[in-house]
């Protein structure tokens, strides 16, 4: 039995995301959808195995907007549902979300946004909290693991009580942290779906689910907020700890509450600092917040990335002279805390040290000096493509084809492990001067390719992964075709959503529930759009290189090269070698070769080692994945490949 279905009363160590999933189960969720993205993926990953036992439908949707639409359909039919995504996924879903908050919802609908302050696994540190204010939907932020479960359960009840979607925001340090959770009861019965739409237009329970008449529906949404505020005023998720008259009132939410509590404890300021921990962060419950603002003249707001909470507290205080007179607000706008990056207990402690003008006892200067000296000699552990990664081979060919073409072509990048091609020092052959959101590489390429009338003549290439292709690339590709943008589009098809843990996508023959489903063929989609399509194995450098060279030379057409080879870490491939590799030491000339250590320094496979004693290249057999690509790159043909025993036994 999965841990997620532990009986009521059991104490379980849950990942923040598992706590959210358990909360949804306790609320009786019927439909859960998501597009994978760190740090959100484990919500659906933990729910999927429980689906068959809980009358639950779970899906990996093609993108976040569709995920929210699928979840909303269930809500319209009276079921409880949720859509889960990472922070930038909310942007993808936001157009539908704008209209959804206007039409309202029926069955409890929760949008879970797992955000990544500091961009630990993202190429942005986007904020979705502003969507709550902008689209007038309630926002909840759990501050520990028990709360992540309890709050998720309550979010469904709240959504149903007000007839609108509720946003629950987590962060990496909550979603990917773990802690004790006491489980509650799982409901025995599942709801039946029914969609009524024959009633009056303003009746959200029986009428059509539409956003018009716009102004009337907007006023209705404002009405719902009043009900929300009333519930938030007495919510147990808002708590104060500290003296009756603190020197400083610290207002915080989310994981920042744990940092703040730790910092106050570290500095021994428990008698001076009171902490108001808010779980309901938009709309702020005005009476509750005012009550605590009255207690102190100095207020510090602790939150990550943008000053959302700070702004809302200040707006509330500005509306009442008694709350703003003689008050000093500390936060981001006065520079006490940074506007960028994630926080931790040290950053909050440093802010308190500044405000109270105190000293923090720390390590001796000699210890700190020793630590600094040691840190300076440590080689960094740079990220790089894994041994046997098809992306290394793909970018090797792309780089060489561009060099051979000689007109200064470049690649518009996209989001996936292959984004590492943008890190030039980590990959000596990277070529990716643009990197934005999913699908944007193709849109940008489409734009660059139409700059010829302005004197821009460079060939334009773009890449995307297989999952990204379905998620957001197709409209951009159609745009390129329709507007005759002459681009070479390369699909780095590693046969799964590899970076986030091999979740299935529409190109696979299996879905989140492990049901067998028809695969949507990328090549067929591209051909239907009118592109010239070729498919290659990226490990075959010569075939890949020759297709790319032809494509770059060919004008006035949309060209698609699908480079198909499974990820080296994929379950079906991991630990299986096709080739045994070795360096023939009599052929490798080392530094005398003139190749300037092409294989180790430029190709940079973790299995290709520079042997300091012999001053020659060598293969680390333990790390080598046996892809065989390096045999094709050595100008001396010193890297030898032979069929691996395991591959020969299974017929290669």
């Amino acid at each position: 039995m999965t841990r997620l279905l532990a009986p009521a009363g059991s104490k379980v160590l849950f990942l923040g995301n598992e706590a959210i999933a358990r909360g949804a189960l306790e609320a009786g969720v019927s439909v859960a959808t998501a597009y994978p993205g760190t740090p959100s993926s484990e919500v659906i990953e933990s729910l999927a195995p429980a689906a068959s036992k809980r009358s639950l439908y779970v899906e990996w949707s093609v993108n976040e907007k569709v995920a929210l639409e699928v979840a909303a359909a269930a809500s319209f039919a009276g079921l409880r549902s949720m859509a889960v995504m990472k922070q930038n996924g909310v942007n993808v879903a936001s157009d539908f979300l704008l209209h959804l908050t206007a039409s309202g919802t029926r069955g409890g609908l929760v949008l879970v946004s797992c955000e990544d302050p500091g961009a630990l696994s993202s190429v942005n540190e986007g904020e979705s909290r502003y969507f709550a204010g902008m689209l007038e939907m309630p926002l909840l932020e759990p501050a520990d693991f028990q709360e992540a479960k309890d709050m998720t359960k309550w979010a469904f009840e709240l959504s149903e009580a007000i007839g609108n979607v509720v946003m629950l925001r987590s962060v990496t340090r909550m979603s990917h942290a773990s802690g004790n959770v006491v489980c509650g009861t799982l409901p025995a019965k599942a709801r039946k779906a029914a969609f009524e739409y024959g009633g009056p237009i303003m009746d959200s329970q029986t009428g059509p689910m539409i956003s018009t008449p716009v102004v009337a529906k907007h006023l209705l949404r404002r009405q719902k907020l009043k009900a929300v505020c009333a519930l938030f005023e007495k919510s147990p998720f808002n708590r104060y700890t500290g003296p009756a008259r603190p020197d400083l009132l610290l207002i915080t939410a989310s994981a920042c509450w744990l940092y703040a509590a730790e910092a106050v404890h570290m500095l021994g300021l428990q008698k001076k600092v009171g902490i108001l921990k808010l779980g309901t962060t938009w709309p702020l419950p005005p009476r509750l917040v005012s009550q605590y603002l009255r207690k102190a003249r100095r207020i510090l707001i602790v939150e990550e990335v943008m000053a959302f909470l700070e702004e809302n507290v200040k707006v509330l205080a500005a509306g009442n002279p008694k709350l703003s007179e003689d008050k000093t607000f500390f936060g981001k706008y006065d520079g006490t805390l940074p506007f960028a990056g994630e926080l931790n207990p040290d950053i909050v402690a440093d802010a308190l040290v500044k405000i109270f003008n105190i000293r923090r006892c720390g390590l001796s200067s000699s210890y700190q000096e020793e630590a600094r000296k040691t840190a300076a000699m440590l080689p960094p552990r740079e990220q790089t493509f894994c041994a046997g990664c098809p992306h290394r081979a793909s970018f090797w060919s792309i780089h060489n084809a561009i060099a051979l073409d000689g007109r200064g072509g470049f690649v518009c990048g996209d989001i996936g492990c292959y984004s590492m091609a943008a890190l030039t020092p980590a990959n000596g052959f990277g070529t990716m001067p643009t990197l934005h959101s999913m699908g944007s590489g193709t849109g940008l390429a489409s734009g660059f390719a139409r700059l010829a009338p302005f004197g821009f003549k460079k060939p334009v290439l773009t890449v995307c992964g297989d999952s990204t292709f379905y998620h957001a690339v197709i409209p951009a590709l159609i745009n390129a075709r329709h507007n005759r943008a002459d681009i070479t589009f390369i699909v780095l098809d590693n046969q799964g959503t590899a970076m986030t843990g091999f979740q299935p996508h529409p190109g696979n023959e299996v879905n989140a529930l492990r049901e067998s489903v028809p695969a949507v063929d990328i090549a067929a989609v591209c051909r239907a759009i009118g592109a010239k399509v070729a498919v290659c194995d990226p490990f075959d450098l010569s075939a890949t290189g020759s297709v790319l060279t032809d494509f770059l030379a060919e004008k006035d057409s949309l060209k698609v090269l699908i480079l198909r080879q499974a990820c080296a870490l994929s379950p079906e491939k991991k630990g299986k070698k096709t080739f045994e590799m070795k360096v023939d030491e009599s052929l490798c000339l080392g530094d005398a070769c003139g190749c300037n250590r092409l294989c180790t320094r430029i190709f940079r496979c973790p299995a290709l080692v520079w042997d300091r004693k012999k001053k020659k290249a060598a293969v680390d057999e333990v790390v080598c994945a046996g892809c065989g690509v390096c045999a094709s790159i050595c100008p001396r043909k010193a890297i030898l490949k032979s069929q691996a025993a395991s591959a020969a036994a299974s017929g290669g």
Binding site: L13, L120, A177, P379, R381, M420, R604
Partner: protein, 204 residues
């Protein structure tokens, strides 16, 4: 061995390189301590960790409350490292004169070292830094023990056994056996217990 109950929060950092079983070890350790009635908070980042990067888990073991998933700088009581370079990296941020360190001696070279552009610190340099930055340290080849048992990844369990052997945390063999039985097949449990015992005897 009877272990003494903790009265204050203990901070442990478990570190290594992606693929070494860092996350599994931190979960197993936390699971044991939750069963023993502690409130455990694990702070982790993963996502790119499989791609050869540094991996670090922060464990806060408290008698009563949830703690920040990030340990303050200089705030580690114990550091368990599956790889010596990562031990040094963590020591320079979370170390203090009172810290205890258990480190695997088997190195995993970062890409800059593999390609010959950077140097990996020598064993002597590592020992000197350990001696200067810790109150006590244990350094032994847990990977070799894992290899003897048939799988180098067992080094993570060897390190857990070694941690139990030091008596720094209230964990023992019985607790580990119970934890490993929750998820593992009987064969898997047996090999893991062997790895645990081997580690235990190395630090005791």
């Amino acid at each position: 061995m009877k272990t003494k109950r903790l009265s204050v929060t203990k901070n442990l950092v478990l570190t290594g390189v992606g693929g070494q079983g860092n996350v599994m070890a931190s979960r197993a350790l936390a699971g044991m301590l939750v069963d023993a009635g502690y409130v455990v908070t694990i702070g982790e980042t993963f996502g790119m960790s499989q791609r050869g990067g540094s991996v670090m888990s922060h464990l806060r073991i408290s008698p009563d409350a949830v703690r920040s998933p990030q340990i303050p700088r200089g705030g580690a009581d114990v550091i368990v490292a599956l790889e010596p370079l990562e031990a040094l990296r963590v020591l320079t941020v979370y170390g203090n004169p009172e810290v205890s360190l258990l480190s695997n001696s088997r190195s995993i070279d970062p890409i800059g070292v593999i390609t010959g552009e950077r140097d990996y610190p020598s064993e002597e340099t590592i020992r000197i830094a350990f001696a200067r930055l810790t109150a006590r340290y244990w350094l032994f080849d847990a990977t070799a023990v894992g290899l003897d048992l048939g799988n180098p990844v067992l080094s993570n369990v060897v390190m857990l056994g070694a941690l139990a052997g030091t008596g720094l945390l209230p964990i023992d063999r019985r607790m580990f056996a119970k934890e490993i039985r929750k998820t593992g097949s009987p064969e898997k449990c047996a090999i893991n217990l062997k790895a645990f015992d081997a580690g235990f005897s190395m630090s005791k």
